[in-house]
Symmetry: C2
Subunit: 211 residues, 2 copies
């Protein structure tokens, strides 16, 4: 089973690495990091480089494709070579998935028209602009398309995906292996439950730093 | 504020990247990935390379040191140059921290003797063998030493640490930015609550693959 994760400059590290940590532990699964140019990609916060081992041309088929998000999506969603690869791989994939604003890449590739999907809470309007029907769930499944909300939601999505791919016993064993028994110290993980002042603060910071 | 994350061959990716995603978002914080040799380090599952930008010799002081774990700890905990750096940086650090079996590196450096600490649930006996007093909490603080349980616990620890370093408003804004509103699909995240068959399975796999 081949799982392809396309990466690009300015991706959000955890979008890719959370699911990688889960999916790479499925017996017989091989995860490959691909890009439109082989080599190190700097993640959005700048001080971490992830390495893409293969050019997209070397990977014509994946059983699962998982597109991470991040500020780099602005350019990635306009990279015609990447979009062409996503469309081509989607033709034979078992699952086509995204985390966070990775959904905007799937949307730009034309794969989410009329489908229920989700993305980072700050980008739901843009997702709708690409023809998707936003669903407020943390992990949304519509046919073979599975999308996760922002950043850390990729871990929940990957465990759900692992259960589909390899059964619940394997998925639970992976959850225990990575000791995924989350205990967030604050109630601030979504824009409905977080204190309104925090929601406003994050919106302001996003407005000031995003194009 | 400088936050140093030492990495090495065979680290567990999420141990480092979960906290990175949180701590790198603290205003004025700089996270640097260091190693005893600059360059790409393969994570334990093989198909992801993380890049270490600096040699430990270039980073004589960190406000925070965060040591990730993984199977590579077997060698890292015997790398005298790494241990000497950890000891030296600890002398002036504000926080000395670890995720998962990264605690075994702190322990090998002699920093956890008589201190309460935690690690991955499969390694608590080894932690005790290094003189630490195991505490069953997911995140354990003893003075300036903060240790997290397995893999994903680093995210919870990093949010706790962010609150200490930059205040609760910043920590909550980061939590909302990464949409950390975890919804694990199964109740299998710790060895007490997971189905006994799953616990046995993970123990068996660990025995067969670890030295």
């Amino acid at each position: 089973m081949l799982i392809g994760i396309p990466i690009f400059e300015g991706l959000t590290a955890l979008d890719a690495v959370g699911p990688y940590e889960v999916l790479s532990r499925i017996p017989d699964a091989t995860v490959i990091f691909v890009a439109t140019s082989v080599g190190m990609k700097r993640t959005d916060q700048g001080s971490l480089g992830l390495y893409a081992d293969a050019d997209v041309a070397e990977v014509p088929h994946c059983d699962v494709i998982l597109v991470p998000g991040g500020p780099g999506v602005e350019e990635a969603a306009q990279d015609e070579r990447l979009l062409a690869w996503v469309r081509a791989v989607d033709k034979t994939s078992v699952w086509t998935t995204s985390v966070c604003t990775g959904a905007l890449v799937l949307g730009a590739a034309g794969l989410l028209r009329g489908r229920r999907a989700t993305t980072h809470w700050l980008s739901v309007e843009r997702l709708a602009g690409l023809g998707a029907v936003w669903d407020a769930s943390r992990v949304v499944t519509d046919g073979k398309y599975m999308t996760a909300a922002g950043v850390s939601a990729g871990i929940d999505m990957a465990l759900t995906l692992a259960a589909h791919l390899a059964g619940e016993t394997v998925a639970q064993a992976i959850q225990l292996s990575i000791e995924y028994d989350p205990q967030p110290p604050f109630q601030a993980g979504n824009s409905t439950d977080a204190p309104p002042g925090i929601v406003d603060l994050v919106r302001q910071v996003a407005r000031s730093t995003r194009p």
